[in-house]
Every structure is written in structure tokens, then in C-alpha cells.
């Protein structure tokens, strides 16, 4: 992480001045606020709730890769925090520690902070919708999921998690590395199905014979994680 800090800062700097261009009717578009620099009292007030938090300082110099779900840089996204939606917020999701982080400027210095999981409703970065399941009575285990598909009776959630695995054994290489572990969860008519292969998918749609037949006859592949999600999206597109 030490090596990637300048890259990270550079990426943030590139993004900050220009990420306020998505105009809409919302107040935030009127604000044209894309920064945490709080140039006006109005901006300071508006972002007060999401510019405080615990310090985020998870660096893993001895592990290959990074702990974030996609990229190690902060990306501009939308955050719903305690029921309020904030647009153009610099976000990242540390899927190893299950933490959502943002970056703030304090006294001229950039600081990475943790957004409290208990207050996050959801967020959207890089065209992916993340939902935070906090209610322990929910059919899904509490945690942060990608909501890949949402229909009236079917939803597809992807639980993406980073884990630290083994070592390469090669001299000079880091001993351990981060690896992605994904699981796909289908909610069909309120019933939860963790799907790992084609058979699981057919079983999840057992009460919809036409769809089950389509899956059976299709040449969709389900073996790898990324194959599974994209194949499921093809199936759900048939609904």
C-alpha cells in the first residue's frame, strides 16, 4: 500500500475538480459540489454527516494485491447514509475488512476515514449497486452485497469478499496475496438460494418450469465466479 499511495492521491486529484458535471434537478447538482474542501459554509454543512469518522489506515505491504473490491483508488459514487443520498462522493469498499471508506481534506491534508457500517444504507460505485443488509432478521446474513439484479419477485445478490490466500513460494515475491471469493445468492419469491452451479440455479427456478427448461437447454457456463454472475444475469433477463 505504501507504494500505491502516490498513485491513489494522483487519482483522487484527477477526479476531484471535474466530477461535478452530472447535472440533474437535485439540490446537489445545484450545489455543484464535488469536493470535501468545504469552500462554502453550505457545502460544509451539507457534508457534515459523512466527513467525520474513524481513521482508515489498513495497509498490507506484505500481501500481494489489495484489499479493495475493484480498484485501490477512490472512485466518485453515490452514497445513501442515514436515509440521505449524497452524490459525487469519493468512495471505496474494502471487501477484506468489510469497510466503506471515503477521503476528506482536513487542515489541507487528505485523510481516509471509515463510514460507519451501521449508518450506510447503500452506495453505488463503478455502475455497481451495493446494499448494506443490517437487519439480522433479514433473510440475507448482514453484510454488504452487490445488488446485481432487482425484479419484483427475483433479486440477485453477489457477496464479494477478499481473502488472503497462501503464498507463491517464489523468491522475492510476497508470501501471501489477496484473492476474491464471490458467492451468488438468488432470492426467488422470498426464498434464498445460494447458487454454486447449474443444478442450484435450476433448483432455484423449479417453480418456473419454462425458465428451468431454458437454463437446462442453454449453453451458459456457471463454473467460475464471473461466469456464474453473468450467466445468471442472462437468465434473469429472460424474466
Amino acid at each position: 500500500m505504501r507504494k500505491s499511495l502516490p498513485i491513489q492521491i494522483f487519482a483522487i486529484l484527477l477526479l476531484l475538480p471535474f466530477c461535478g458535471n452530472g447535472q440533474n434537478n437535485s439540490f446537489q447538482a445545484l450545489l455543484k459540489d464535488n469536493s470535501y474542501n468545504h469552500t462554502t459554509p453550505l457545502q460544509s454543512l451539507h457534508f457534515q454527516q459523512i466527513t467525520q469518522g474513524k481513521e482508515y489506515r489498513h495497509f498490507y505491504p506484505n500481501i500481494k494485491g489489495h484489499q479493495y473490491w475493484n480498484k485501490s483508488i477512490y472512485e466518485s459514487g453515490t452514497l445513501t447514509f442515514e436515509g440521505v443520498t449524497y452524490r459525487e462522493v469519493l468512495l471505496n469498499f474494502d471487501s477484506y475488512n468489510n469497510l466503506v471508506t471515503t477521503t476528506v481534506v482536513q487542515n489541507g491534508l487528505s485523510k481516509n476515514i471509515i463510514l460507519d457500517n451501521l449508518k450506510i444504507d447503500g452506495f453505488r460505485i463503478n455502475d455497481h449497486n451495493f446494499v448494506n443488509i443490517r437487519d439480522s432478521t433479514n433473510i440475507l446474513t448482514p453484510g454488504i452485497y452487490i445488488l446485481a439484479f432487482e425484479g419484483p419477485s427475483v433479486q440477485l445478490f453477489v457477496n464479494t469478499q477478499k481473502k488472503v490466500v497462501g503464498n507463491t513460494g517464489r523468491p522475492g515475491e510476497p508470501l501471501k496475496k489477496f484473492a476474491v471469493e464471490e458467492s451468488n445468492i438468488l432470492l426467488v419469491d422470498g426464498k434464498m438460494h445460494i447458487v454454486k452451479n447449474k443444478k442450484d440455479v435450476i433448483e432455484a427456478f423449479s417453480e418456473r418450469p419454462q425458465l428451468a427448461a431454458f437454463i437446462r437447454s442453454s449453453k451458459l457456463r456457471f463454473k467460475k465466479n464471473n461466469e456464474m454472475t453473468s450467466s445468471l444475469l442472462v437468465i434473469l433477463g429472460e424474466l
Partner: protein, 615 residues
């Protein structure tokens, strides 16, 4: 430059210095690169200044007896397109008497432009014409002609009613609404809303069914409605309860708050209520810097105030938490003198002097209504007359979220002093003397987990709180009776608030999160605060299911039905059902509403209730 830390190895210190240096560079680069953003940000006030809100308030009826509850639903729209606005989240509602004095004031929340609430009209009010005024903080930057104003007749039946011996009523119509559209029933809205009522004449205690259907084919078009049913009496009617008659007066666009001698400096309350205040402090050049406000309680929040100009500041509080007090404190100085601004607008509505006089038949009607109210008070519990509390989910998490460590003191042997508690149990907090003063130091989570060192504590004191209220006087903390403390939260990471960084947080929590009667040190300035109203739910009996049970209990409701916040779409219609009471006569059904595209809807329908022949 960062100072080398004694508790770190040379290598760790080098790394720390390097990181610090990188942050310094990033701060400089950030300032350079952010320049275009600053320039863009300079433009925003123009766009925002042109954003004008407009409010309409639907009350359950136009006249009230003292002791009755006034129910209302508010619609806040964007004047430019007529659509419900998401700009403001707080609505200010006042009842103002003919002397321009507010007699009741409340704040209620707006969600996507819709909010509701109620006012219990005090028996101290005298008979007369009152004005119900509603506005958002953002609207206060405009001329008060933009405010919503509605005439309300309030009658105090305990006092002698002003009788007119000429035989004519002189209920003065203030005509506060300045719209040009005329009241027109169903024909105007047949494409938007269809209202089907099962009958026109009902007997007492009979079910009234109202079907609300929209024939608009657009599936995403949502029609938000409020419905009231009350005894109709022509002499007490006015046209103010009509959303169509709130069309803005074109002349008012040219008017500004400045023309009324008002400074327009109110921010839109997008998240929650904004508190404005002024600080005087002779010892500090810029006292608003390093000034914080805490709310205390279970879901305690702490914010650094935002300076607006010289000694003035603002701070925005989130919705969903009730506070009784705000606690102001500083990390740098003591001896502050804070004045909080009244959140309600001070401009008098400048009403004409009015007097009410009623003819004998109106007095007879009012007396009938009064008897109904008294019988209701006699036979029904409070919540069946004035509504019951809606289920609400208050926020319960403190500002720092889940602490890394939480100690429930009842799980341990109790000690007579807090000092012993910290020494014996709270291993992640160290109370020690450094630089001549005693402070609490918290275990440094990151340094301990990411280096070979262990048992490293932050070298700066932690933020120490009692029920979420920071206290810097460590001796004062140590003197608290430990038996009053239920648990201690410890945050072992640095915590950033505004421009301040705290080396961990220690929060001592009493059993009821209410300070348990402990008086706070004088360095903390405590200010009373009135939270937003929690809307109640209107009660109406079900004479179908509970007919035999209720048979001997009189049902003398004046307002038969009130339902705010009904939403229908092309795919979701609504059937309302309620029962008539024991009072016969004419009733008026009033429906107001707005579509998501900004089309206004207003419908009225009269029904008659006659005596039932049933035994």
C-alpha cells in the same frame, strides 16, 4: 514536520515521517488541482438562489374549537416546475393570532416534499381569526408573500360567542391565498383522479367507502393525496383548503426578503434542521473555530460548527433523533457566550384587524360541535381523540458507530471509584499524568496491529465523554460515581470531526443515557432545544367489527376522517373506509393532492348523514 515518536522504532519513525511528508505534498497538490472546482463552486449560488419553494397545507377543516386537534398535510413544491421538491427536509408551521403574535409553533419533517403533523389547540386561545403560516428555512430568504398562509377560525366555546344581532354572520374572509384558478370539481381531474363514493346519503354508524383511482397510464406517475371529512357549515367555510388556490402571485417574484428589512442568509435544510448561533468570546480572535456541539443521549452526535461570518455559526442536525438540549464546547478555550437564533420567522404576517360575529344558527351549530367534543372527551381516551403515536424508528447509534471495545460494568465486581475501574478493567485506556496534567490515553489499534510493537497507546489524549457529551476536566470525570455508569465504549482509532482529530474516544454511558442527574462542568454551555414534531395517527372507530362493543358508547367525532399521505399509481388504487358517527348533518369530503409531475388535484364532495332506524 512530524516529531519522532518515542514509542516507535527508528524504522517505524522513518516510515511515519515519510507518510507525513506525503500528506503534506498531497495537501499542496490538492489545493492546486482543486482550483477549477473552486471556480465551479463559485457559480452555485446563482442556481440555488433561483430555486424557489412553494408550500401548500391541507388542514382537516377550516374552523376549530379550542381543545380540538388541527391535522395537516404539507406539500412543498419547486415553483419553477410545480413538482414536489427534495430540497428542504424541515417545515416550520405557526398559528398566528390577529395581533400578529404566534400562539403555536412547530417543526415537522418533509420527505420528498411531503410532511404532516398536528396542533392541539389550547383552551387558552380566544375566539377569532388566526393564520396558519408555513414555510421552509430556504423560503425565509424570500419575501413572506411566498409563505403559505391560511385563515383558520378558532372558537373558544367556554367564552361567550360574539353574537350578531342583525342576523347575519360577519366571518371575515382574509383571502390570503392569491390564486386565480376557480374551484372546479371532477371535470378538471378526470384524467388524473377518479373518486367513487358508494353512496351520498348514509345512516349513522354506516361504512363510507371511497375508491381513489388514477386513470393516468404512466406507471411511474405517483399521485399523493390527503383526505378529510368534516361537518359542513357554509358560514364557516372558506376556500383556503384548496391546493389550486395557492397559485403564486406573479408580483411576488419581484419581491425579496431584503425589501422587508430581512437579511437573506438561510441555508436550505437538506439533511435536517440547521441551528444558527452567535458566539462572543473576548479571549479568542476567532472563537467559532474549534467550537463543537454535541447532542448527548443514546444516539449522541457531535459536530464542529461551521462559521458563517465573523462570530456567527451554523450547524445541521440529522432527522430521526430527538434532542432536549444542545451542548456547546471547545477544544481550545472556555468562557464562551452563545446565543441561539429563534428558528421561526420574526416577520409579522400583517393581518388586518378582524372580529368575528355569529348569527344564532351558527352559534347553534358551534354549540352542537362543542357538545360533541365534550362527549368525546368524556367517553373516549385521549389517543382516540387526539391520535396515537406512530411507530417510529429512532436512530440509536452514537456518532462513532460501533466501538472497538465495550465494557458493561455490571459484568464485573463494582469498585467505589472510576479510577479503580479504569485500572482494573479497561485495559485499552490508560489514565496517566503527562506534561503536568492527567489525561486518558487510548490503545492505538493500527500501530499495534500493523507493527511489531504492542501495547502502544496514542500520545495525545482521547476524547472523553459522558453520555456523548465531551468533558475535558479529567478530575471531574474521575469524581463521577461509578455506580451511575452502565457501560464504557472505547474507540481505539483516531477520530476525525471537522478540523479536529481525536486520539480515540472514551464514552461513559449512564443507564438511561441522561447524565443520571450529574451536573456538567461550567465549560460546557447547555442550550434547550425543541426537536421536530413526531406526527400522530388519526383514530377512527370500526363500527363494523366492534358494533356490539361500541353500541352504548357515543361516537360524536367532529372530524370523521383524516388520512394524509395516500399514494396511488396506475397500478395501485386505494379504497378508504371509515364509519359515520352519531351526529347527523352534512359533511364535506375534501381531497387535495399532487402528481409526481406537478399536476395539482382538488376535489370536494358532500355527503349527508341521517339517523339510523336501527334500534
Amino acid at each position: 514536520m512530524a516529531e519522532p515518536r518515542k514509542n516507535l522504532t527508528t524504522g517505524q519513525n522513518e516510515q511515519l515521517m515519510k507518510t507525513h511528508h506525503q500528506y503534506k505534498i498531497s495537501g499542496f497538490l490538492l489545493a492546486v488541482w482543486m482550483l477549477p472546482a473552486f471556480l465551479l463552486a463559485q457559480n452555485h449560488p446563482d442556481g440555488l438562489q433561483q430555486y424557489q419553494e412553494k408550500v401548500f397545507v391541507h388542514t382537516d377543516k377550516p374552523y376549530y374549537l379550542t381543545g380540538e386537534t388541527l391535522w395537516f398535510q404539507a406539500y412543498c413544491t419547486n415553483l419553477s416546475n410545480g413538482q414536489l421538491t427534495e430540497l428542504s427536509s424541515v417545515l416550520y408551521v405557526e398559528l398566528i393570532n390577529s395581533n400578529n403574535q404566534p400562539v403555536m409553533q412547530l417543526k415537522t419533517s418533509l420527505k420528498s416534499g411531503i410532511g404532516n403533523g398536528q396542533m392541539l389547540l389550547s383552551s387558552q386561545l380566544s375566539t377569532g381569526s388566526y393564520v396558519l403560516r408555513a414555510y421552509t428555512a430556504w423560503m425565509r430568504n424570500s419575501h413572506q408573500k411566498f409563505f403559505y398562509r391560511q385563515e383558520i377560525t378558532v372558537i373558544n366555546p367556554l367564552n361567550a360567542l360574539p353574537a350578531n344581532t342583525n342576523g347575519e354572520d360577519t366571518v371575515v374572509k382574509l383571502e390570503l391565498s392569491s390564486g386565480t384558478e376557480t374551484l372546479n370539481n371532477e371535470s378538471n381531474f378526470k384524467n388524473t383522479l377518479k373518486v367513487i363514493i358508494n353512496k351520498e346519503i348514509y345512516t349513522t354508524r354506516e361504512a363510507v367507502m371511497i375508491d381513489l383511482v388514477t386513470s393516468d397510464n404512466q406507471p411511474d406517475q405517483v399521485l399523493t393525496l390527503s383526505v378529510s371529512v368534516y361537518p359542513y357549515y357554509q358560514q364557516l367555510e372558506n376556500n383556503s383548503n384548496n391546493i389550486l388556490l395557492t397559485t403564486e402571485d406573479p408580483e411576488s417574484r419581484e419581491l425579496s426578503a431584503e425589501q422587508e428589512g430581512e437579511k437573506s442568509h438561510y441555508f436550505p435544510e437538506t439533511i435536517g434542521p440547521i441551528i444558527y448561533g452567535k458566539i462572543e468570546n473576548r479571549e479568542h480572535s476567532d472563537p467559532k473555530n474549534h467550537l463543537f456541539v454535541s447532542t448527548g443521549g443514546k444516539a449522541s452526535r457531535t459536530y464542529e460548527v461551521v462559521g458563517t461570518d465573523s462570530n456567527n455559526f451554523a450547524v445541521e442536525l440529522p432527522l430521526g433523533i430527538d434532542y432536549e438540549y444542545l451542548y456547546f464546547w471547545s477544544t481550545k478555550y472556555t468562557g464562551t457566550d452563545i446565543t441561539l437564533q429563534d428558528p421561526f420567522d420574526k416577520r409579522p404576517p400583517q393581518l388586518p384587524a378582524t372580529s368575528l360575529q355569529f348569527d344564532s344558527s351558527t352559534i347553534e351549530f358551534i354549540e352542537g360541535q362543542s357538545v360533541n367534543m365534550q362527549l368525546s372527551n368524556l367517553y373516549h381516551e385521549y389517543t382516540k381523540i387526539h391520535g396515537h403515536q406512530q411507530l417510529k424508528t429512532n436512530k440509536e447509534t452514537p456518532f462513532y458507530g460501533q466501538p472497538e471495545f465495550q465494557y458493561y460494568l455490571d459484568d464485573y465486581t463494582r469498585f467505589p471509584s472510576l479510577k479503580e475501574v479504569f485500572v482494573e478493567y479497561i485495559r485499552y485506556v490508560s489514565h496517566r499524568k503527562k506534561g503536568g496534567s492527567s489525561n486518558f490515553y487510548v490503545w492505538d489499534d493500527y500501530t499495534n496491529s500493523q507493527s511489531l510493537a504492542n501495547n502502544v497507546f496514542f500520545d495525545q489524549p482521547a476524547l472523553v465523554m459522558l453520555d456523548g457529551i465531551p468533558v475535558h476536566d479529567q478530575q471531574w470525570i474521575m469524581n463521577i460515581d461509578p455506580l451511575l455508569i452502565e457501560s464504557i465504549d472505547v474507540v481505539t482509532k483516531k477520530y476525525f470531526i471537522g478540523n479536529e482529530v481525536f486520539s480515540g474516544v472514551v464514552n461513559l454511558k449512564t443507564y438511561h443515557h441522561d447524565l443520571a442527574g450529574v451536573e456538567l462542568p461550567l465549560s460546557i454551555e447547555k442550550k434547550p432545544y425543541k426537536s421536530l414534531q413526531n406526527p400522530m395517527e388519526f383514530y377512527y372507530p370500526n363500527h363494523g367489527e366492534n358494533a356490539s362493543e361500541n353500541r352504548r358508547i357515543p361516537d360524536r367525532r367532529n372530524t370523521l376522517y383524516w388520512n394524509p399521505g395516500i399514494e396511488i399509481t396506475s397500478e395501485k388504487s386505494e379504497q378508504l373506509q371509515f364509519y359515520t358517527g352519531d351526529t347527523t348533518g352534512e359533511y364535506l369530503i375534501v381531497i387535495n393532492g399532487i402528481t409526481s409531475q406537478g399536476t395539482l388535484v382538488h376535489l370536494t364532495k358532500k355527503i349527508r348523514v341521517i339517523k339510523s332506524n336501527a334500534p
